[in-house]
Amino acid sequence: MGILRYTVYRLIQAVPVLFGLSVITFLLANSMPGDPVSIMLAETESDPELVAALEAQYGLDRPLHERYVNYMIGLAQGDLGYSLYYNEPVLTKVAERLPVTIMLVASSFVFAIATAIPLGVIAAKNRNQPSDHASRIVALIGVSTPSFWIGLMLIIIFAYQLGLLPSSGMVYPWHSPDDYRFIDSYLGIGSTQVGGITLPWLEGLYYETARHLILPTLALGTLHMATIMRIERSSMIESLHADYVQLARAYGVSERKIMRKHAFRVSQLPIVTIIGLNLTTALGGAVLIEEVFAINGMGRLIITAIQNLDYQLVLGTTLFFGVVFIIGVIITDISYAYIDPRVSYEEDS
């Protein structure tokens, strides 16, 4: 089976999972307590006729399975539903909030991978030596610390005590600088000076975005850094003890090359899987980190939706997370199959 066929195979395989996901999220979201319409009309005096009219408008008066079918039909047409709380289509909300979450998750993974792999390799190479112990301690602390607490600590240190970085909010590089001028002026947006050097106006706000991203990235990325590092270390140790490494030594390959080529490449295989599986943890973590840093991303959107019992928004966002994860896993599987020649596409792992 070629890689293309394998991709198709994996996609077909995902169909029942996606179906199940939609059923479960639909049921969960619909069994949320409270009446969406009365919540929408919270402040006003409830007018039974208005309630009935609204219920009819949103199809809430129909049986559950019918509503599910309607929802799925809408979904097939690209309609994720309608947020009663925001009074906007769910899709619009998602499109608005998604980029920042992607930015956050991606930057934290970049941070995690970029630090974890070298640290893991160094630890494996100097097994049971001080550098190994040090990185193991870092990893242990990393997996034991709540990410949101790391966020709080970073805010206390870097924002409050040192005043180096912003404590909350986000600057979107795709917005116009004017959007921030009055809110965040004290942060130095628009200044042409960075560290004493005069620069042309930072177009697209990349510099400010980076400043805003640093703390959330560290907070969200630490756990993944620690997990990846542990796996990297153990898989590198295993790889370094393999017969083929011993054979390379016996043929006079230098230790450097053994490290970089023979042992390293094989040890990357489990990392790929871990990165894929960590995706849900990261998305879940984003909920907390966005809350801590007051970033308006998908995580906060879900929380707002739940708080306001906005069931269509809950449904839409949860479903969206699920789909992102399933696609992520498929991509992981395919790239795994691509980098490990031993994986036969015919096998269903």
């Binding site: 089976m1 195979y9 077909i12 015919e346 269903d348």
Partner: protein
């Protein structure tokens, strides 16, 4: 013997030498795919065991020998109904086990026990060896608790272990000693048959002999039958009474031990015996090495399974032209005879296989032999020196070879290989009909040779 050492058999007892089990046209296919979508993507069957028949006689040691992947372990498990056969029947004292449900078979398992290759994983690490030996008795409700303990201790002593080690755990024993525990467990229900799956191949040579001797002593004492699975012909020659040689899911040859080792008839058996190194530097070991690898059991060769590697493939048409009641295509193959000298036929066959495997070079200056371009005459000269030292074949054969030479001279190895193989290999009786023959044995009472040379 005390009460605790004997167990009555519930089914009618039979005398030593009578048929204990009949394995009748048994096949076991596995599906090579898994998961609920494998159906869509097609998954061919692995023919692990394909149409195998033989008998097991009470009190004998019958060995099934073959290389890894030949299906010997699957066969053994199918005999014990640990795997249910895809086709065929297995009769124990006349009772067809394949018709019984798992539940109905369970009580019968008292009479059929099993020991394994890996002494490491064959004993539950969290049970004491006493418990391990008692477990089968417990499962069949034999004796009371004290009687079981007593019998376990007796058996531990019989297999050469100290009964006072009853309360020890498997990891406290060496590999050889664990195999002894396995033997004691297998013997605990006083079975008729013990299936031994490579019982000594994980052991060091010196320990191997200890265990083999113990097994023989126990057979003499308890009259138990062994179905002995092994890849080691030396061990088989030491312990077996009758031997079945398996190749790619089928029995190639079956005979009494002396007959098989001294008078092997099947080319595969001969090759096996030739290949095995003899621990004697003065032994003149004329070795006709087998070429190539065992083909995939998913798509085994037609006709005789061994014919892709057999040095004695029969040339098309060489089986004589007298009319028989054979199918038409077989007849056709018989009629289209090339009538080559045996030596020239051997050369042609060797040439065909060499082209298939691309194991020779035509142009020594070029490492990639698919990119050569040589005049056909040069190729012909080279082939003559490499393969056709006994003279050049004539007639239709020569025409085929010339066509192949034309392809080769352009680097089209693929085409040449297909042409040669279709002409010479696929038209042989060996490729068309599955051989099943019995010959008169010189020693012993049976000699099955599934090879067309012995039609």
């Amino acid at each position: 013997m005390s009460d605790a050492t004997t167990v009555g058999n519930d089914t009618g007892d039979i005398e030593a030498g009578e048929t204990l089990m009949e394995i009748d046209h048994v096949s076991k296919y596995f599906s090579s795919g898994s998961g609920f979508l494998s159906g869509f993507f097609g998954s061919p069957d692995v023919k692990a065991v394909d149409d195998v028949s033989f008998e097991i006689k009470k009190g004998e040691t019958i060995a099934v020998v073959g290389e890894s992947g030949c299906g010997k372990s699957t066969l053994a498990r199918t005999v014990l109904q640990l795997l249910r056969p895809t086709a065929g029947s297995v009769r124990y004292k006349g009772q067809d086990l394949t018709e019984l449900s798992d539940k109905e078979i369970r009580p019968l398992r008292q009479n059929m026990q099993m020991i394994f290759q890996d002494p490491q994983s064959s004993l539950n690490p969290r049970m004491k060896i006493g418990q391990i030996v008692e477990e089968p008795m417990k499962a069949h409700g034999l004796y009371d608790s004290e009687g079981r303990t007593e019998r376990a201790k007796v058996l531990l002593n019989k297999v050469g272990l100290d009964p006072s080690h009853y309360n020890r755990y498997p990891h406290e024993f060496s590999g050889g000693q664990r195999q002894r525990v396995n033997l004691a467990r297998a013997l605990s229900t006083d079975p008729d048959l013990i299936m031994c799956d490579e019982p000594v191949s994980a052991l060091d040579v010196s320990i191997q002999a200890q265990v083999l001797n113990t097994m023989q002593e126990l057979q003499d004492e308890f009259g138990v039958t062994y179905l002995f699975i092994s890849h080691d012909l030396s061990v088989v020659r030491y312990i077996a009474d009758r031997v079945a040689v398996m190749y790619l899911g089928q029995i190639a040859e079956l005979a009494n031990k002396e007959e098989l080792f001294e008078n092997p008839k099947h080319p595969y058996t001969e090759a096996l015996l030739d290949a095995i190194p003899v621990p004697d530097p003065r032994a003149t070991n004329a070795r006709g090495t087998l070429e190539g690898d065992v083909p995939s059991p998913i798509n085994p060769p037609s006709g005789c399974r061994f014919r892709t590697r057999c040095p004695k493939v029969i040339q098309p048409g060489a089986l004589g032209k007298e009319p028989t009641d054979l199918p038409d295509e077989v007849q056709a193959a018989r009629l289209q005879s090339y009538e080559l000298e045996p030596a020239v036929w051997q050369d042609t066959l060797a040439f065909t296989r060499a082209v298939n495997r691309r194991s020779f070079v035509l142009d020594e200056g070029e490492s990639d032999q698919t990119e050569i371009s040589l005049p056909p005459e040069e190729v012909r000269t080279r082939l003559e020196s490499l393969f056709f030292k006994n003279g050049w074949p004539e007639g239709e054969v020569e025409r085929t070879i010339n066509a192949a030479i034309d392809s080769l001279s352009n680097g089209e190895w693929e085409d040449a290989a297909t042409l040669l193989s279709n002409t010479f290999e696929e038209n042989s009786i060996c490729a068309i009909e599955q051989p099943t023959y019995t010959v008169a044995p010189e020693r012993g009472d049976i000699h099955v040779v599934n090879c067309h040379l012995h039609r």
